[in-house]
């Protein structure tokens, strides 16, 4: 694979090396990788690395990518300030 220091999850700065090690050690699913390494938990909500994590898990475990959604979309689906939640003026955040 690419250089081990390649960053997979930009928001949390989780490297490919960390993810692959975690999978090899625990032979875990995408969800478990996310829980163990925080990859996919960042500010962007997994937009950037969700698919990459799925592919790495599938490749490392040697299984086809599962059909159903591995890393579900968690609210808030985009960052929201308390002001927005509380109905203040239009703060896009």
């Amino acid at each position: 694979m690419a250089g081990e220091k390649t960053i997979v999850c930009r928001c949390e700065e989780v490297t490919l090396e960390t993810i692959v090690d975690t999978i090899e050690q625990y032979s875990c699913s995408s969800r478990e990788v996310k829980l163990r390494t925080r990859a996919g938990m960042g500010y962007c909500g997994g937009r950037t690395c969700r698919n990459v994590i799925d592919r790495i898990v599938a490749a490392t475990n040697g299984e086809p990518i599962k059909d159903e959604l591995q890393l579900s979309y968690r609210s808030p689906i985009r960052p929201a300030t308390f002001e927005v939640l509380g109905g203040g003026h239009e703060n896009e955040s």
Partner: protein
């Protein structure tokens, strides 16, 4: 403007552009109306818009389509926006979100 395309092969010469001044972390920068904060700063050679909250690594524009939130900056008081989606206006005050040390360009 080192990075600007002044004569575009398709769009032709960029003539009717109104120059504005924006402030990033207190320093003035030139920009044109219609620029986004991201493109205006990039044209001025400023790529680091914020620092990673944990490691302090410089972060800036990444997806440029409002998808990844890497370019989030603070505008005026406490208004957090994505630099790649926000157009500039004259006298716009922009600040980095976390404690931004100058040397980390």
């Amino acid at each position: 403007m080192r990075m600007r395309v002044d004569h575009h092969p398709v769009l032709g010469k960029q003539t009717d552009r109104k120059q504005v001044t924006i402030f990033f972390n207190g320093k003035p920068y030139d920009a044109y109306e219609g620029d986004t904060i991201a493109s205006a700063m990039m044209a001025q050679g400023v790529y680091a818009l914020r620092q990673h909250e944990v490691s302090g690594n410089a972060r800036g524009v990444y997806c440029n389509i409002g998808h990844c939130y890497e370019c989030r900056v603070k505008v005026e008081d406490r208004k957090v926006v994505r630099a790649c989606l926000t157009t500039v206006y004259h006298g716009m005050e922009i600040d980095s979100l976390s404690g931004f040390s100058e040397g980390n360009e």
